[in-house]
Every structure is written in C-alpha cells, then in structure tokens.
C-alpha cells in the first residue's frame, strides 16, 4: 500500500518551548486519529503536515513528496483548522468559491464544487448568508466544507467535531467515513476519546510532543483501563452503597463526602465495577442521583501513561 503521510524525525520547538519531538510515523489511507490533551503537539504536527510550519529537524512527506515549500502537494490536501478562519463579511458560498479559485478552478467549476460541499455539510439553505451570522456548529461545518470541497486525497482535520450538535456530528462523521471509503487518507485530531471512537479504531496517542502509543482502539483502551479510575456516586444511601462494594477486590480506595451525600470509588477495573453496580441496583432498592468520573479526561490518562 502506498504510504500517504510520512514523518521522519520530526521536531519543532518555539524558542525554549517544545512543540513536537522526534516524531517518526507512517500513515496509510484510512482514518487515523491523533489523540492527545491540549498542548500535546497535535496542532503543531498538523501545521507541519499542511506546510504552515517548518520543522526544525526532520521532514514530513505526503505521497513521497516533501511538504515544506512544495505548493504543488497542497492540491491534494484539505485542511480544517481548529480556529475559526473566515472572512466574516462574505457568505458561506462566496467564502468557499474564493478558496476554491485558489486551486485553479474556473468560476463555474468553483461554484459547482462550493454547492456540492455545502450540500455535504447540510448548509445549502444558509449558504447565501454572511458567515458572521452563523452559529458555532454552522461555522464548524463551513470549515469542514472548505477542507473537502476540492476533493482532496489527504484530509487533515483539527478537532473537526468540536462545537457540533449530535446531529451535525453524525453527519460529519458520515462524510469523513465516505472519504475513507473512497480510499482517502484522513488524519483527525481530538482530545475527546468517544468522538474518536466513533470515527476510527486507528489511534496515535501524542503527549508533550511525543508519540507515546500507537495502535487500534482496543490496545489504547487496554492501556487506559490500567489507569485507576475515580467514580463519584451521589446517593441518599451512599454509606450502604459503600458497604456493598467494599469487599470487591478491584476497588483500590473509597472516600466519603457526607456533605454531598456522595462516595468516591477508585478502581482499576471500571467494567467490573459497573457490572457490580448494576447488579446492586437491580437487587436492592438503592437510589442513585448522579454518577460522575472526576478524572475521566484524557489529561489524567496521559499523566498516568507517562508516569506522572
């Protein structure tokens, strides 16, 4: 299979601040997710891939061609930045047409492609409205539209699902998967694991500018599952609940919050914990008001994985 994206010893820093360090990887057609907390180096990596940043060391290649200072390769590349990047005074349609013209399309072709892209992200009905009047979700979708409008072979999407409502999210996930089925290469960055799980099983974990793990979602899940999880349960019978769970061997710690009528469990086997909780709820008249995971965020998982 032809390697779509290659990074060789890729390093970039900003003064004393490290962006990414010695990243070596190959990405094949399909969807690959770049997963990492904020500041992990995802955007730096993507900006190097899209030719906006020069790596201090190493190089990035797309379809075997160097990215830096090679504008030709950008015909095959679609980029959706994380930040809003618009001409607010233009309509969504004009915005897309303007950007499509930069690829060398004729005006008629650009208009046709712009309409199709608006259609894909379901913005056809508001395509004539000024971008400044768009909601957060619409702005996210028009950003994705500009990335896909020229039918690129490689799509780089920086947090493409952030700010989308569930329906829009589903629609965008469908579009991204259609691109994958057409044999394209898609790199998606995110710091939200469930979002990534809905898109792909091929995941690269990036943290503090380094790739700390790569594999399919099950491998990553296993890694994450070794991380002790905290589960906070709010219940009027929180002491009874704690008593029922106390004998379980996968439970590492319990802490009470009497003022909130809550108990915080720490476990290294979340699945078994929730199975036991389900059994308890079915077999006894326990009432639960709320279940939350105080450390259920990627930062905690990454800190654990890198041994902090």
């Amino acid at each position: 299979m032809r390697v779509a994206i290659e990074a060789r010893n890729l390093s970039r820093w900003y003064g004393n601040v490290l962006g990414i360090s010695e990243i070596n990887l190959e990405i094949n057609p399909g969807i690959t997710a770049l997963l990492g907390p904020n500041g992990a180096g995802k955007s730096t990596f993507m900006k190097i891939l899209t030719g906006q940043l020069k790596a201090n060391i190493g190089e990035a290649r797309i379809f075997g061609e160097k990215v830096w200072n090679n504008t030709h390769i950008f015909r095959h590349l679609g980029f959706c930045p994380e930040d809003d990047a618009f001409y607010e005074d233009l309509s969504g349609f004009e915005f897309l047409c303007g950007l499509l013209s930069l690829y060398g399309y004729s005006q008629a072709e650009a208009r046709g492609r712009a309409r199709q892209a608006l259609d894909l992200v379901e913005l056809s009905d508001v395509g004539g409205r000024q971008v400044r009047s768009y909601s957060r979700g619409m702005r996210q979708r028009i950003k994705i539209a500009q990335a896909i409008a020229h039918d690129p072979d490689v799509l780089i999407l920086d947090e493409p699902l952030s700010g989308l409502d569930p329906l829009s999210k589903r629609r965008i996930i469908k579009v991204i998967k259609e691109f994958k089925n057409a044999g394209k290469t898609i790199v998606v960055s995110s710091h939200i694991l469930p979002e990534v799980e809905a898109l792909t099983s091929e995941i690269i974990l990036i943290h503090q500018g380094k790739i700390i793990a790569r594999g399919d979602i099950y491998f990553i899940r296993d890694l994450i599952d070794t991380h002790p999880h905290m589960i906070r349960i709010k219940s009027p019978q929180f002491r009874q609940l704690a008593k029922s769970m106390a004998s379980e061997d996968y439970l590492l710690k319990m802490a009470f919050e009497p003022e909130n009528q809550a108990v915080v469990f720490e476990t290294h086997d979340r699945d078994r914990f929730f199975n036991r909780l389900n059994e308890l709820l079915l077999s006894s008249p326990l009432v639960i008001d709320e279940i939350t995971s105080p450390d259920d965020n990627l930062q905690a998982v990454f800190d654990y994985l890198v041994g902090k």
Binding site: G39, D83, E88, L120, I156, A182
Partner: protein
C-alpha cells in the same frame, strides 16, 4: 424520470486549470469586500472629481477664445504642460482621497486575515507567500491605479484628442513615460504604505489610525524640524513633500524643495523595501499554536 442522487461524497473527475494567476482570486475577493463596505462606492466616485476638473481644464485650454471670461488672468492654469500633469499626480486632495479609500477598503487586507487567522487557510493551498502578498497588493494597486495612472493617461489622451494634432506629443515626447513612471511610483509607495499599516495590527481601527497617524505626523514633524533647522531637507520627513519632490524629478520640472529629487526617491524606495521586509516577516510569523 430523473434519478435521485444520494447526498454524500462524490468523486470529482474534472481537471485543474493550471493557471499562473493564483493571486487573482485574492485580489477579486479583496475588491469585492472593499466595494461592499459602507459608503465606499460613494467615496470612490467622489475621488474622481479632481480628474474631472482637470479634464474640464484641458477642454477649456483648447477653447480659450470661447471661455475668455473664465480664463482671463488665469492663463497659467490653462497651460497644459508637464507641470499640469505633475500637479494632478501631486494633489494633496488626491492623496487624502487615496488614504481615505484605503482606510475603508484596504485597512483590513492583512489585519483581518491575522484577526480571523485566515492566513492558515491560504497557505494550506497551492499558493506561495508571493502570490498571497501580490493578491493583497492587487487591491491597493487597483484603487491607486484607477485614481492616478488611468486618469493621468486619459487626461494625456484627452489633450491629444482635443488638440487634433500631434503637436503636443512632439512638444513633450517623453511626457507619457513620465506620467506612467510617476504613477507607478505612487502605486508602489501607497501599496507598501497601506500593506505595512495593515500588517502592524490585527485591528482594522488601529490600522486606520496608523495610516492617518503616520501621514499627518510626518507633516507635523516636517513643520517642527523646518522651524528649528530652517533647512529644505526638513521636507525629507514629510510623506507628501517626498512624493512631490520625486514627481518633479520624473517630470523634469523644478522641484518644490531646494534639494536633489533623488534623495526623496532613495528615501521612499528604502521605505518600500523595508515595508516589504516587515510585511513578509509578519506574514511568515503567523503561527497559531495550541
């Protein structure tokens, strides 16, 4: 019966046009945005008033007998020579109109891209920095060109047309080249000036302040230095004085200030070069890191 197309991804099988004018879509968008701004069209139309007045002067100059009552005592005004064209290209009101138009339609050329982080969208496309800057410069070139080069050349052609002979052309054979060279110099200066101002801030209002601030400050500075040192070289501190001095050089007429015109030419050229370096640096420096 027409087939129902499923809404979804469809591969595009067309061909890219290998056009070399990659800057043009940027210029086109810039022009569209400028004309879309409030009152811009009105100000742009008013900016042609000096050109219309000069055209009327040319018309009268060819029919002095018919307009005796107007022209009496003001014959100098109706003398069409290199000084006449130089005076059009060095009108204070023309420079002010250009700056006013550029503050409305040009202040955001780079500033808006920086503010909206749109630069990253450009450079993820088959576009070089030179294309990008040329595209942005194209907007200023268009407006300054339509207020300097085109009217000045049209005035020249009008003179030839009304004269009905090549006498004027033969009397001043190099005049058309002077008009073109001077206009191009003005275009170059105003393009550098506006783009430099636009690159110095993300806020279009600050850019407008920079444009007018620099323009008027240079005049005030010249006044102060002139009073203190009583030297004609104080004109080197003024934007308009330098442009007028260079224009005199292009038209080979007596410069308004008592020093060689090429000093102003070198100074303005240096300013344009420095502006280019600053703009290039600013555009390259747009790196959004998360």
């Amino acid at each position: 019966m027409t087939s129902i197309r499923e809404k979804g991804y469809h591969h595009w099988e067309g061909q890219f046009l290998e056009k070399q004018r990659t800057f043009w879509p940027i210029t086109r968008t810039g022009l569209k945005l400028a004309f879309g701004r409030k009152h811009f069209k009105l100000f742009y139309t008013f900016s042609f008033i000096p050109a219309v007045v000069y055209a009327v002067i040319i018309y009268i100059s060819e029919r002095l007998e018919d307009f005796k009552s107007i022209s009496q005592g003001a014959e100098k005004i109706f003398q069409i020579n290199p000084n006449f064209f130089k005076s059009y290209l060095t009108l204070d009101i023309l420079y002010f109109a250009i700056l006013l138009l550029m503050s409305i339609g040009g202040a955001g050329l780079l500033a808006d891209d920086f503010r909206h982080k749109a630069v990253q969208l450009y450079f993820a496309r088959p576009l070089t920095k030179a294309d990008y800057l040329l595209g942005k410069a194209g907007v200023v070139i268009f407006f300054v060109g339509t207020l300097t080069l085109i009217p000045a050349v049209l005035l020249y052609l009008l003179k030839l047309l009304f004269a009905g002979s090549f006498g004027f052309f033969l009397a001043y054979p190099g005049l058309i080249l002077s008009i073109i060279a001077c206009s191009l110099f003005l275009i170059l200066f105003f393009t550098a000036f506006v783009l430099l101002a636009s690159s110095l801030s993300n806020n279009r209002n600050y850019v407008i302040s920079i444009i007018f601030g620099l323009y008027f400050f240079s005049e005030i500075l010249r006044g102060i230095i002139s009073v203190i040192f009583r030297s004609p070289l104080s004109a080197l501190f003024s934007i308009t004085a330098n442009l007028k001095q260079v224009a005199a050089g292009f038209f080979q007429v007596k410069p308004p200030y008592d020093y060689p015109w090429y000093l102003s030419f070198l100074l303005v050229s240096l300013f344009c070069l420095l502006s280019y370096l600053v703009i290039k640096h600013k555009v390259r420096g747009v790196e959004v890191i998360k």
